[in-house]
């Protein structure tokens, strides 16, 4: 035995290190699970919040896409003296001549006329319901459809016949159409033809009672001026924008500034974005849970180092370097925290999926939610495990072996 040179220190293989790191977790499963619970809850909260808001936005976007982003609404604006301007009666026909326009429908508000379920309702109980004249192709252009009965046609538009918007029907307490059913408007009976579904892009239709233009002029003293014009452009962004830019001048060539043009789908998108503002609170709660989880992991690692002094002593006697002991306990903390994080992602994703499924949304879990959750778990494990790992490595072998 004359050799005086030593073999080089061998680094532990990744597989061996993984097995060592798993020792503490494997031998004390319940304790490991409880100490990782804080991280699980924190990561689950963050993933669920981000997932739910992304899924809800996806649901809303799908809804908006189904309604179409090519709807443009032209309404009368204000004139120079501050009064309400009127749209010229020729505006719909003028707009229909624009290239790229596929449909033009309009409504006109019938002023000073209210509608009631019957003539027994006191006249002050208007329920916020407007009476509007409508063209016969309105539902398709405004992004709604007929829920009950049918819409106005060329024949019924001339007669005292009405169709109810979704909210108007609800406020009147009408949920189906009977043969011969009537409502009271402008001092006479109107037969009920149908009820519309909600129109998310044109909520003003929801709270209206719709009658034909000829009937409105004949029975309700309507002046025939349109107040809202619903314009569908060819369904692409460029055409919609081009039409948008031309609408005001085309609707009222004399006073384009007295015309308001809007794109209702844009308002819905903005609304969806505003909804996400509440997420901050829940993300904050998730961060607090993560902090508590980090303290839990640090605590359990401090205890583990104290409990496993003899194991540390044995490993040092078997030839483990300080660095290898440090790495073992650091990887154990990271593994513990990573397992908690993975469980949290699973829980967050599952709750997002079940809620989104119930709401009929597409399940969207943004990559930054789960990747961020995993990264946070790894970072927390590393930070929480650092001090205990340093303590374990600093322990002298004899000190570790003596402490039985």
């Amino acid at each position: 035995m004359t050799t005086t040179s030593l073999p080089h220190t061998r680094r532990l293989r990744a597989g061996d290190m993984a097995r060592l790191a798993a020792t503490g977790v494997r031998t004390r499963k319940l304790r490991a699970a409880l100490s990782a619970l804080g991280i699980t809850i924190g990561v689950a909260a963050i993933v669920a919040v981000l997932g739910l808001s992304a899924s809800s936005a996806a649901g809303l976007n799908a809804e908006i896409a189904a309604l179409g982003t090519n709807l443009l609404t032209v309404t009368s604006g204000q004139n120079l003296s501050g009064g309400t301007a009127e749209l010229p009666g020729t505006a719909p026909a003028m707009i229909a001549q624009l290239p790229g326009v596929t449909a033009v429908q309009d409504t006109g508000t019938v002023s000073n006329v209210n509608a009631y379920h019957s003539n027994l309702v006191p006249s002050v109980d208007t329920s916020g319901i407007d009476v509007k004249a409508a063209t016969t192709g309105l539902p398709a252009a405004a992004g709604t459809s007929v829920a009950r009965g049918q819409f106005l046609n060329a024949a019924t538009a001339r007669e005292p016949v009405a169709v109810l918007g979704a909210a108007a029907a609800q406020r009147m307490g009408i949920d189906r159409v009977w043969a011969g059913e009537r409502i009271w408007a402008g001092g006479m009976w109107f037969y009920l033809a149908g009820i519309l579904n909600p129109a998310p892009l044109a909520p003003e239709i929801d709270s209206a009672v719709l009658v034909g233009f000829p009937a409105a002029q004949r029975y309700l003293h309507f002046d025939g001026h349109p107040s809202e014009i619903y314009v569908r452009a060819q369904d692409n962004q460029a055409t919609t924008t081009a039409v948008d830019n031309l609408l005001a001048a085309q609707a009222n060539p004399q006073n384009p500034s007295e015309v308001d043009v809007s794109q209702p789908s844009a308002a819905l998108v903005a609304q969806a974005e505003a909804k996400g503002a509440f997420d901050t609170l829940f993300l904050g709660l998730g961060a607090v849970a993560l902090l508590v989880g980090a303290i839990g992991v640090a605590n359990i690692m401090v205890i583990a180092v104290l409990e496993r002094r003899s194991e540390i002593g044995l490993r040092r006697a078997l030839g483990a370097t300080k660095g290898q002991i440090r790495l073992q306990f650091l990887s154990e903390a990271i593994l513990l925290s990573l397992a908690g994080g993975a469980a949290g992602i699973a829980a967050g994703a599952a709750s997002t999926a079940s809620y989104a499924h119930a709401k009929g949304w597409a399940v969207v879990i943004p990559a930054q939610a789960w990747a961020g959750g995993l990264a946070a778990a790894i970072a927390i494990g590393a930070i929480a495990g650092l001090l205990p790992a340093l303590r374990a490595a600093r322990m002298s072998p004899t000190q570790a072996l003596w402490s039985i």
């Binding site: 035995m1 004359t2 050799t3 005086t4 030593l6 073999p7 080089h8 220190t9 061998r10 680094r11 532990l12 293989r13 597989g15 061996d16 020792t23 494997r26 031998t27 003899s310 194991e311 002593g313 044995l314 490993r315 040092r316 006697a317 078997l318 030839g319 483990a320 370097t321 300080k322 660095g323 290898q324 002298s396 072998p397 004899t398 072996l401 039985i404």
Partner: protein
């Protein structure tokens, strides 16, 4: 004459702190390859300190400790760890067997820090288990074994790396008389096969079976049969 496996020269070890404890006081000894040495002495005589220094777990306050010719005073943590991994096998009284692992896994872990692949670790662990007569219990858990069998697993773990020297601290301390002697039979057998073994024990009947006995009292060697028998060497 070849370099001794283990060589202590005028070694002192003082533990600081009021009052300082002089655990070893001028100890000199040399252990040659293939020897079976028993170190005896009462509690507090410095036996365990001697084992820690001989096993490169601690450094002396004065004097020099050479393991396979290497003076440990000049070695850093990495080199000392390497030395322990490659040249020294430990058997502790408390055994330190991992209950969640099989007997084979425990023995194979003796090679973990020597940079040996898992397959080869298992292979060499099987050889070591065969050497201690436990090849049949490789898949058992330590808790399923008797005290004597567990002690033999700990010995197999120390042997797995084919160390230059095996240091055993009270290997029979937790065993009854008969089992203790059976373990010593095994150590004798291993010694005859060429392993250098130093056994620390307070049991004189166990110590009596070693060819060489060293007695320590208050940190000094009071008797070393190698020195006394050096004149009559070769009588056996």
């Amino acid at each position: 004459m070849s370099t001794p496996v283990l060589e202590l020269e005028n070694v002192t070890k003082v533990y600081p702190g009021p009052p300082p404890v002089r655990a070893l006081d001028g100890v000199s000894l040399a252990v040659a390859a293939g020897e079976l040495v028993a170190v005896t002495g009462p509690s507090g005589s410095g036996k365990t300190t001697l084992l820690h220094l001989a096993g490169a777990l601690d450094k002396p306050t004065g004097g020099s400790v050479r393991i396979t010719g290497l003076d440990i005073a000049g070695l850093g943590d990495k080199a000392l760890s390497r030395l322990r991994a490659a040249r020294i096998g430990f058997v502790f009284q408390q055994l330190f067997l991992a209950e969640h692992q099989t007997v084979l896994g425990n023995v194979a872990d003796g090679l973990l820090y020597a940079g040996v692949r898992l397959a080869e670790r298992r292979e060499r662990a099987m050889e070591a288990l065969a050497a201690v007569g436990l090849a049949g219990r490789a898949r058992a858990r330590p808790t399923q074994l008797s005290g004597g069998q567990r002690q033999r697993v700990a010995i197999a773990r120390a042997l797995a790396d084919r160390p230059a020297v095996v240091l055993a601290d009270e290997p029979t301390g937790n065993l009854d008389q008969a089992t203790g002697h059976a373990v010593l039979d095994l150590l004798e057998e291993l010694s005859q096969a060429g392993t250098t073994i130093v056994v620390i024990t307070h049991d004189r009947s166990i110590a009596g079976r070693a060819r060489r006995q060293i007695h320590i009292l208050d940190g000094r060697i009071t008797a070393d049969t190698a020195v006394m028998a050096s004149a009559g060497e070769g009588t056996r």
